[in-house]
């Protein structure tokens, strides 16, 4: 009897996977496949609607437009991989940006030092988030909801709500907005910096123990702790590194916008979360990757640029992004149910 049941079981194990199951397995192994497919699809559709979308000019503009959100999405990805969320992304960036610009323009601080102080402040702000999450044990949502208001208020109080134009800033602060040509493309220093950050953090995430522990802590914190992962130290490091990245984003934003304004990036929080989610990283932690977030930011940017080139009302973008987010999270839920 046992031999017949084991034969049936073996038969069951050998069964052919349906095409749908195969797709599920593929997406489970390579979470960036679906955003890549989506990006190619948006590229094709918008290029048909308006061939100018495919031109080097438009594509260069696309990269410049998404640079800041793509940069913030790096930090956001790290936090979301630990099953957290960072609502203070925009606030930290604005604080760092206003401090950099004000120190240089009003207080005569050397440009490089102003940048350094701004970035250091962003690191400190990220570390504060991390300490509140790990030491006080508050949920990341609450912590960053609080620091969102706190950092925004400090930035507004400090800058007096005024904006600082780039003609008052030293060259090194405006350096991220410098453009140069790569073949037919116009590239800014900021875009290159973002791509470099993706490469560095991507390496750390996939090739080092630190990265592996981030996934472990996000997927199953209790098991990670029992396995000997220093969970709290990992969490603290994630929020701190995220702060560092927001500091760079602040510098890149000044170069991109040509000014430092306290209300310069009003949608940074939701845009960065949207990019991460569309990029295939799970809001429940432990699953996803960095490349997806870059693709996600590019998808959102493509909708903005593509719809305006197609002469369509921008409200359609909002609708499309909303649908994409819901589809992306549904796909994530489905992939999680994968069986051997």
């Amino acid at each position: 009897m046992s031999s017949s049941t084991s034969a049936a079981a073996a038969e069951f194990a050998r069964r052919r996977q349906s095409p749908v199951q195969r797709i599920q397995h593929l997406l489970h192994g390579y979470p960036w496949l679906s955003p890549l497919f989506l990006l190619v699809l948006t590229f094709v559709v918008f290029s048909i609607l308006n061939p100018r979308f495919a031109s080097p000019n438009a594509q260069s503009l696309l990269f410049q437009q998404v640079a800041v959100v793509a940069c913030l999405a790096i930090g956001q990805t790290l936090v979301i991989l630990t099953a957290g969320i960072d609502l203070s992304v925009g606030a930290i960036t604005i604080l760092a940006m206003m401090v950099m610009a004000t120190l240089a323009a009003e207080n005569g601080v050397a440009g490089w030092l102003a940048i350094l102080i701004g970035i250091a402040l962003a690191v400190g702000a990220g570390a504060l988030n991390g300490l509140l999450v790990t030491r006080v044990g508050l949920p990341p949502f609450i912590v960053t909801l609080g620091t969102l208001s706190i950092f925004t208020a400090i930035a507004l109080l400090y800058s007096g709500g005024s904006s600082i134009q780039n003609n008052r800033l030293p060259d090194i602060i405006n350096f991220t907005g410098e453009t140069f040509s790569v073949g037919p493309f116009r590239v800014t220093v900021g875009v290159i910096m973002v791509l470099l950050l993706y490469a560095i953090v991507g390496f750390a995430l996939t090739q080092t123990a630190w990265g592996r522990h981030i996934f472990a802590v996000g997927d199953d914190p209790e098991s990670a702790r029992l396995s000997g992962v220093a969970s709290k130290r990992i969490l603290l490091s994630v929020y701190t590194v995220a702060g560092l990245i927001y500091g760079f984003a602040a510098w890149i934003q000044i170069g991109r916008a040509g000014s430092a304004t306290a209300n310069g990036i009003p949608d940074a929080n939701l845009d960065s979360i949207t990019a991460v989610v569309i990029g295939g990283t799970s809001l429940f932690g432990g699953r996803g990757g960095l490349i997806g977030s870059l693709l996600g930011a590019l998808i959102v940017g493509s909708f903005t640029l593509g719809l305006s080139l197609a002469g369509v009302d921008q409200q359609w973008r909002l609708l499309a992004i909303g649908v994409l987010v819901i589809v992306a999270v549904s796909v994530d839920q489905w992939i999680r149910k994968v069986k051997a």
């Binding site: 996934f215 396995s227 994968v338």
Partner: protein, 276 residues
């Protein structure tokens, strides 16, 4: 303090071939362990000796102190009074990491494996090995290939046939295979003692058999194994000696040869008492 007396041990009910195991000094000992949680007494002066090359089962009703005892031995809890000795030397484990560094590995009931990570990553979690040369020392790059190969060896050594691909995510494995991964990890790094907490609780007949075979394999390789279980047939199949916890204390140590399952359960529930 420096020398501890062995607990009295009768080898009458131990098969002749296994008696030599008990000639050596115990590898892990506990004396008079007491732990309280508020007003609740968790352990009420428990003694234990564990020998290299034996499977010591710990049985007892819910709340009898099985898990509490094990947690004191592996650093998850700190006893209020009493001492733990490793190879005759007093030790004090402040956290599970300390016990692990001393060569005591625990396979927790919840397994402590990360579903999204692959088998090799789980085996080496928090013990990752880096690439040789500057790639490892400067860039801290993981030796993924090497860990995969060595993980395969560890799994092979336990005679687990059903797991082939070390790059497979743990969440795609069956319950028994996950258990096997957790045991393989403990076996690969536990140099002295492996503690298994209810390893067969969630498994079917066939997979339980596979896990019990692994348990015996660990013992035969010279490790000391503590097996906590509710499943009496599994205990009587795999254990050399059986430590019975009752109401926070030790109600006696028996062997599968000296008592049958019914007698063991009677001692466990207090229906009969072990003549001492």
């Amino acid at each position: 303090m420096s020398t501890i007396e062995r607990l009295p041990l009768s080898v009458d009910h131990i098969p002749e071939t296994k008696r030599s195991v008990y000639d050596a000094e115990p590898i892990l000992s506990a004396r008079n362990l007491v732990i309280t949680f508020g007003r609740v007494i968790g352990l009420d002066g428990v003694d234990l000796d564990l020998y290299r090359g034996e499977v010591l089962a710990v049985i007892g009703d819910n709340g009898a102190g099985k898990s509490t005892l094990i947690k004191c031995l592996t650093g998850a809890y700190q006893q209020d009074t009493g001492d733990v000795f490793l190879e005759g030397r007093p030790v004090s484990f402040k956290r599970p990491q300390d016990a692990r560094e001393a060569g005591i590995e625990t396979v927790y009931q919840q397994l402590a494996v990360i579903p999204a990570l692959d088998i090799a990553s789980n085996l080496y979690l928090a013990r990752e090995e880096r690439r040789p040369g500057p790639l490892g020392s400067v860039f801290r790059m993981l030796d993924k290939k090497g860990m995969k190969v060595r993980a395969g060896d560890s799994v092979q050594r336990l005679g687990i046939q059903t797991i082939q691909n070390m790059g497979q995510a743990v969440e795609t494995l069956s319950g028994g295979q996950r258990q096997a991964v957790a045991v393989a990890r403990a076996a690969a790094f536990g140099s002295r003692v492996v503690v298994l907490d209810e390893p067969t609780a969630a498994l079917g007949v066939k997979e339980s058999g596979m896990v019990l075979d692994m348990v015996k394999q660990l013992r035969d390789s010279g490790l000391a194994v503590i097996l906590i279980s509710h499943n009496m047939p599994h205990v009587w199949e795999a254990a050399d000696r059986i430590h019975i916890q009752r109401l926070g204390g030790c109600a006696g140590v028996i062997t599968p040869q000296s008592h049958d399952m019914g007698e063991g359960v009677a001692i466990m529930t207090g229906a009969t008492q072990l003549a001492s």
